[in-house]
């Protein structure tokens, strides 16, 4: 029996970027769901992906790793991954890990798109 934490990834188009809204948990059981959801956007050569984490209730180091890998892949193809919508808890995780300084982090969707 394979169990997975719940994670849903919904893509929305905006003028500047594809916005990927994450709902649920991102941990060691389900990072493949996010990788699969992002693969098509990477292959299509999209230059801007905005990850809206507003409805993400949990992330572990395994989840952070996947976000870092995605950000690197985007950078490698001259694109950029942006992140916004942090809960207090996830904000702490980004702070402690130092990912806040490494990744492009914004308060809300509008801030991220305005800076893009």
């Amino acid at each position: 029996m394979t169990e997975q934490s719940h994670l849903a990834v919904r893509a929305e188009d905006s003028d500047k970027a594809t916005v990927l809204c994450l709902t649920g948990r991102l941990d060691g059981t389900n990072t493949a769901i996010l990788e699969a959801a992002v693969a098509g956007h990477l292959e299509a050569g999209e230059t801007l992906l905005l990850f809206d984490l507003e409805n993400l209730i949990y992330i572990s180091s395994a989840g952070l790793r996947v976000l870092l890998i995605i950000a690197r892949k985007m950078q490698a193809q001259s694109g950029k991954a942006l992140f916004c919508g942090f809960s207090e808890e996830i904000s702490q995780v980004f702070e402690v890990s130092g990912f806040k300084d490494v990744l492009s982090v914004y308060r809300g969707r509008a801030d991220a798109l305005a800076a893009a």
């Binding site: 169990e3 934490s5 059981t29 949990y58 572990s60 180091s61 395994a62 790793r65 702490q92 402690v96």
Partner: protein, 154 residues
């Protein structure tokens, strides 16, 4: 997970054996933390932090320490003592102290240089008030303490 409630006794101590299968262990852990937090009226960021530190230790344990153990055992105990949550994790893998033997990641490197990994134990040290390792009767035991937030002290 409908029978999880029976693991929480009247004394507020929860004890559960976790599966050596990573996905199963992590999904059960999330459920256990949520139910324990509800039962003990723990709110704020504490349930998240408790889940995170246990997730990182369970992941390391199942992925490495217990990988070659014929009859792997991984037991979690949770209890609340006044304004402190105490979590104990015991496994029967080879004696190993992840708290001293894991390297500390450099959190100042940039996107390309940043090493992927080593964050798990660092999170344990940062998000728990206290983490202690001991080897007891041939078992590895890690005891974690998390302080409850002001909102929980009613």
């Amino acid at each position: 997970m409908g029978d999880l409630a029976k693991h929480v006794g009247d004394t507020g101590v929860l004890s559960i054996d976790l599966s050596p299968d990573l996905n199963e262990a992590l999904t059960v852990l999330a459920e256990v933390v949520e139910r324990f937090a509800e039962a003990e009226a723990v709110a704020g960021t504490v349930p998240f932090r408790l889940n995170l530190v246990l997730d990182e230790l369970v992941t390391n344990c199942v992925s490495y320490a217990l990988r070659d153990v014929p009859e792997p055992q991984l037991r979690l105990r949770l209890r609340r003592c006044a304004n402190v949550l105490v979590a104990e994790l015991e496994d029967n893998g080879p004696a190993f102290d992840p708290l001293t033997e894991a390297s500390t990641p450099d959190t100042t490197l940039d996107l390309d240089e940043r090493n992927i990994g080593g964050l798990g134990v660092y999170f344990v040290k940062q998000f728990a008030a206290d983490a202690e390792y001991e080897c007891v009767d041939g078992l590895n035991r890690i005891t974690l303490r998390l302080n409850l937030e002001a909102d929980d002290n009613d």
